[in-house]
């Protein structure tokens, strides 16, 4: 009797873990806050967790449920503002649909979550190529000429090569990563421009750093603010401003360094 009670407690705790982890993964990989919240509520009601409540902000989850009839169990997760991986959000959405319809046991859910955690949509080479292509396109959209776009293409390729092959191996804090990668891009643009490629340094740089600029975080921040979620809005706003500041510092350093090494004036 005692033992089965203990088992039930354990499995209740386990189901609670699963539910919170699902929400955490959605939030981490770029899903909206309401999506994470909704998924957790669905899964909790399907897994018969009593008194489940969750409070979610941009970088954290607070959840509580009644485990073992009378005891409140509480979980707090800190979710870093990480680069988004939308294929995982898609997979999680499908998973949550299955869970809500009762097609998924806790054991299956655990297995599928572990699978989704390491899912990747594209390889390194494709990402590097996409970065170059995106930079070139945005350089052109921002009134750059074809020559500018060509230089931005090269800069975009070196940018993601630098991020994926160099910075990811060193493991620096986010601020230093942003400063270093934007400095690398700006230096590449400056050197190419000095060698006579491209027509306007300003247009080349704005295109080339486009994979880094926090336009989407800024938009999400304002979206959260207008949804009355002031805490998440401020967290994201601060993140966007800090990232933009780091990029500006990186570009500034690289340009000053370029002028020092190669001469010329701004």
């Amino acid at each position: 009797m005692d033992e089965s009670n203990f088992d039930q407690q354990q499995s209740e705790k386990e189901r609670f873990d699963l539910v919170v982890e699902m929400g955490e993964l959605i939030l981490l990989n770029g899903g909206e806050i309401y999506r994470a919240h909704e998924t957790m509520l669905y899964a909790a009601s399907q897994f018969k967790l009593n008194g489940f409540q969750a409070f979610i902000i941009a970088n954290g989850i607070f959840a509580s449920a009644v485990v073992n009839q009378c005891m409140y169990s509480c979980q707090v997760r800190s979710v870093p503002l990480a680069p988004i991986e939308l294929c995982r959000v898609e997979a999680l959405n499908e998973l949550s649909r299955d869970v809500a319809q009762g097609h998924c046991t806790p054991a299956q859910l655990r297995e599928r979550l572990d699978h989704i955690k390491v899912m990747k949509a594209s390889g390194t080479k494709l990402q590097i190529l996409a970065s170059g292509c995106g930079s070139a396109c945005f350089c052109y959209l921002f009134q750059g000429t074809w020559a500018d776009a060509a230089v931005a293409f090269g800069a975009g390729i070196t940018l993601y090569w630098f991020i994926l092959q160099v910075l990811d191996r060193i493991g620096l804090p986010k601020i230093m990563r942003t400063i270093l990668s934007s400095a690398e891009v700006a230096l590449f643009c400056f050197v190419s421009y000095s060698l006579g490629f491209g027509d306007s340094l300003d247009h080349i740089i704005i295109g080339a750093i486009f994979p880094l600029v926090p336009g989407v975080p800024l938009t999400n921040a304002v979206r959260n603010l207008l949804e009355n979620d002031y805490l998440s809005g401020l967290v994201r706003m601060a993140d966007a401003l800090l990232t933009a500041g780091c990029i500006a510092i990186g570009v500034g350093i690289a340009l000053s360094l370029g002028h020092l090494l190669f001469g010329g004036s701004i």
Binding site: G30, G31, E32, Y34, R35, H37, E38, L41, Y42, S45, Q53, I56, I84, E85, L86, C87, R88, V89, E90, E94, K120, A121, S122, L126, Q127, A130, S131, C133, G134, C137, F138, Y140, L141, F142, Y160, I206, I209, F210, P211, V213, P214, G215, V216, L218, T219, A221, V222, R223, L226, E227, N228, D229, L241, A244, G245, I247, A248, I249, V251, G252
Partner: protein, 164 residues
Amino acid sequence: MTGTELLLQVWMAFLGTASFSVLFGVSRRHYLACGFTGGVGWLVYLLVLKIGWSNAVATFLATLVLATLSRVIAARFRTPATLFLLCGIFTLVPGASIYYTAYYFFIGDEPASLLKGAEALQLAVAITLGIGVCYSIPARVFGWKSSPSVWNNGDRSRTGYFHR
């Protein structure tokens, strides 16, 4: 702007959006749809600018159209609309403005920095309103079976007025 140039711009927006969908880790089968939403959004933006309306209005209308398009595509593939929306609005988000805000701030040109900052905020609000207006259309219109039932039993305090 001539017709060919317009077409070229839209094509570049398509290509750029598709590229960024790779960086955002969208699964392969959705690259084309992501690029398509981005291209349509940019086309609307350019056309509205051509009428002579302001940048903010053009951004608002473009976001409205591409958010609606994202939801239509999402309902077709049974995926979250965020996938297409996040990639599609990449051409419209004030990435350049927020960069210039920080850049002018650090080189000591505060007036220019404030001007760019205000522009970035304006565009972000325009995009948000565009998304908000689109998301207040009921999910049923796009072919989803029903709105989530979870919200109907109790606490709605955490949901915004346009959360879905």
